[in-house]
Symmetry: C2
Subunit: 238 residues, 2 copies
């Protein structure tokens, strides 16, 4: 099971680590900034927030005048209930960040993990990237095998669909390869402070590490939600 709510918790904690926010804003961030996640509804988000509060990982504070000023400066909007990460919450998040279990490289989990790589230690990043890669390679292998088995029985369109799917996965593997290499190659002073987002040099220099191949078009991958591409089957573990 994908334990999607686990992803939500993780992402909420991660976002709140950067700065306190109220639910409405949180949801927007979840669905746009971190555009990878299939939209969560309030019916999911608010109960989740409650749980996190109950666990002592968050505290809710009323949107005071002081808070308003801050919130306004950030989002131009008045806040009602602002959620703030507690020390325990931070600790818990840190712990989650360091986990590298197999689920860390399942589709949506992986995206969530990647989105917070900025706060993740180098080794962990490596493990997650490599885990993801081998997961995909496994998947590719299955696809290839199944394709060989059934090739003649399939019509052109089905074949084409399959081909495109495989190519998407292959493309993601190449992407991971680049990322891994880039990690390996060094530049280590990745920020890890939440607010380290500070100086963001937009100037296209490879200064800070990521490949940034602008239009080096590579084939497919997984688009946002439940994308056209892949998700092959074979994987009954879902």
């Amino acid at each position: 099971m994908s334990r999607r709510s686990g992803i939500l918790e993780f992402a909420v904690l991660g976002l709140l680590r950067e700065s306190p926010m109220h639910g409405y804003e949180l949801r927007k961030r979840l669905n746009t900034s971190l555009g990878i996640f299939r939209a969560f509804s309030y019916g999911t988000l608010y109960p989740c927030l409650k749980t996190l509060v109950a666990n002592g990982w968050l505290i809710e504070e009323p949107g005071s005048a002081l808070e308003d000023a801050l919130a306004a400066s950030l989002a131009g909007r008045r806040a009602k209930i602002v959620y703030r990460l507690t020390a325990e919450g931070k600790e818990h998040f840190e712990e989650l960040l360091s986990h590298t279990g197999p689920d860390a490289w399942e589709d949506e989990h992986f995206a969530a993990r990647f989105a917070f790589f900025g706060q993740t230690e180098r080794e962990v990043r490596m493990r997650v990237l490599e885990g993801r890669r081998s997961r995909l390679e496994e998947r590719l292998e299955k696809m290839r095998a199944s394709l060989v088995r059934t090739r003649e029985r399939l019509d052109d369109y089905t074949l084409e669909l399959q081909r495109h799917g495989m190519e998407s996965v292959e493309r993601e593997v190449r992407w991971l390869n680049e990322l891994i290499e880039s990690e390996r190659a060094g530049r280590d002073q990745r920020r890890s402070g939440p607010e380290g987002l500070a100086e963001q040099e937009d100037t296209p220099g490879e200064a800070d590490g990521l490949p940034r191949h602008r239009d080096a078009a590579s084939p497919g991958g997984t688009p946002s939600a439940r994308p056209g591409p892949p998700d092959p089957s074979a994987d009954t573990t879902k």
Copy 2:
């Protein structure tokens, strides 16, 4: 709402149109041959089959000795309950095939539709492909807008994730472009249709435009390495 069960019904009808099958086999086909679908469990499949039977679209027949022989030749396996499409079922499926509502180009729906393009009329194929494309372009537009809005506030990894996501969508658009063009060009003279999707167009009996490829057991011909319709692939620059 994705109405995922609708996809299942559609796919089941489509697969059974090609040849009668029992549930177990059906599921395998759903998850491998048509590898696009996220695995459906039996807890979903069997109830669905019952519904379809209740609607008069399928009939269940016991796996008789006769059936066994056939089944054995196909899959080497004995069948217990074989589901066969009724005339009404066929009609219903045909109707579904001709629908081109907006949902036809939502992620999983689209994949399902595409998988049965072999039985779909050319115009319908075009509409679906174009619909999908504009859906994706819309999505791209949103992503771009949101990216512009938030660019500076995001760290490198988040940015990279977003970039990769967009590129994936762009890639799918290119794929669709090729497919559309290929449809437009009339793919009669298209290369290598295995079982002659090619000569299909001029076959009088195919007034309804349905290829009706291979009868299950006859792989016979050319194991075409390359699919007929499009063929973006080949290019290594991708």
